[in-house]
Symmetry: C2
Subunit: 200 residues, 2 copies
C-alpha cells in the first residue's frame, strides 16, 4: 500500500471498535470509490462534531448545545431521573421513546479491576444534583447493565442516595421481548420467575 | 440521540462495510471521547485522501501520485504483469512482498448477474497496455479470486490475450499455509491433489 495519507486513514479506521486492519482497508477503499457521496460528507461531519459537540454539564450527554436538548426541554418530566452508564445507553432509551424524564450519564461503571472509583464517574455530580434539586426530590431509576460491575455500581449509588431520602428504583429483570426460554441463561429465568406477575 | 451532526456521523459510519447502525454508534462515541487523539486526526486524514489520492492511469492503483509509486518505480520488473480484481488485492500482494513486477487492477470481475461486462472493467486498457508494451511482451499473471466470477474473468482475459502471443499464467491452487485438511472444501483438496509436487 502506498500513500502516507491513505495508510493513516486505514490505521485510524482500524482503531475504531468493530473494525480491524482488514475491514479498515475495505472501508477505506469503499470511501475512496465514493468520494463525493460518502468520503467528503463523512470528513465534513467528523470535523463538525469535533468542533460542535459538547458534554452537557448537567447530565453528561453529548450534544451540540450545553445544556443538551433533553435537559433544556421544558416538557420533560422533572420528577424522574434515569441513571445510565454511557451516552449510548441514553441514546438507546431515547430510541425506545418510553422514558420522558431526565438523565444522568455516569461515564462508566465502578470497577475494582480497572481501578475506576466513584470520583472517576459522575457519581458525586449525581449526589449534588439530587441535593440541589428543588423539592420534591425526583425518583431515581437505576438503568445500569445487568452485569457484575453495573449492579455493583447500582448498589453503591443506592447507598449514597439513601440519606437523601429519595425513591430509588431499578429496571425490571426478565425475559426480553422475542426471547425464547431455550436461549436464556438460568439467572434470567430465575429472575423472571421470582418477579412473575398475574396473567391479565 | 440529538445533534444533527452527530446523527450524520453515525449514519455515514453505519454505511461503511463491516459497520452496522449499532457499531456505528459505538464508533462515533469512541471518537467523541478521543477528540484530539482520534477524531480530529481521522477527519484530517479523510480530507487529505479525498483531495490527494488519485487513480493511477497506468494500472488503476490508488496513490497520491499518478503514475503510482509502483508504476513509477524503476527497479520493478517490467517483464511480469499481475492482473488483480481490486486495489485491496494489490495491497495484499504488496504486503506479501514476494511480487516485484507491475500490476493491472481490473476494478472488479465480469458478472452476468450484476451486468458487468468487459467494458465496465479495465480489460480494454489491459489489452492496449500489452499491445503497446515494448517487446518482449510481459508475462501476464492472472491473480484473480478462485470464485466463479473470478475464474470466468480469468478465462475471458486469457482468450482476449491469446492473439497477442503473451505468456498467461495463474496463481497455484492448493492448501493454504496453516490450513488443516479437515476444514478445507473438496474442491481445494482436489486441486491440491492434482497439482501435487515431488516431496523435496
Amino acid at each position: 500500500m502506498t500513500g502516507e495519507a491513505l495508510d493513516e486513514v486505514v490505521r485510524l479506521l482500524g482503531r475504531l471498535p468493530g473494525l480491524g486492519p482488514r475491514s479498515a482497508r475495505r472501508a477505506a477503499l469503499h470511501l475512496l470509490k465514493r468520494r463525493d457521496a460518502h468520503l467528503r460528507p463523512l470528513a465534513a461531519a467528523l470535523v463538525r462534531v469535533a468542533d460542535d459537540v459538547k458534554v452537557c454539564a448537567v447530565c453528561g450527554n453529548l450534544d451540540t448545545s450545553d445544556p443538551c436538548a433533553v435537559c433544556a426541554n421544558p416538557v420533560r418530566d422533572r420528577s424522574v431521573l434515569c441513571v445510565v452508564e454511557e451516552v449510548d445507553d441514553l441514546w438507546a432509551m431515547e430510541r425506545g421513546g418510553a422514558f420522558k424524564g431526565h438523565y444522568h450519564v455516569l461515564g462508566g461503571t465502578l470497577s475494582a479491576i480497572d481501578g475506576v472509583g466513584p470520583e472517576d464517574l459522575r457519581i458525586p455530580a449525581l449526589v449534588r444534583r439530587i441535593e440541589q434539586a428543588p423539592p420534591p426530590s425526583p425518583e431515581v431509576v437505576l438503568a445500569l447493565g445487568a452485569t457484575v460491575d453495573g449492579q455493583t455500581t447500582a448498589h453503591y449509588i443506592a447507598e449514597r442516595l439513601q440519606p437523601l431520602g429519595v425513591a430509588v428504583t431499578r429496571l425490571a429483570h426478565g425475559v426480553p421481548l422475542g426471547g425464547q426460554l431455550t436461549y436464556l441463561d438460568d439467572g434470567t429465568i430465575d429472575a423472571a420467575l421470582r418477579a412473575r406477575r398475574p396473567f391479565a
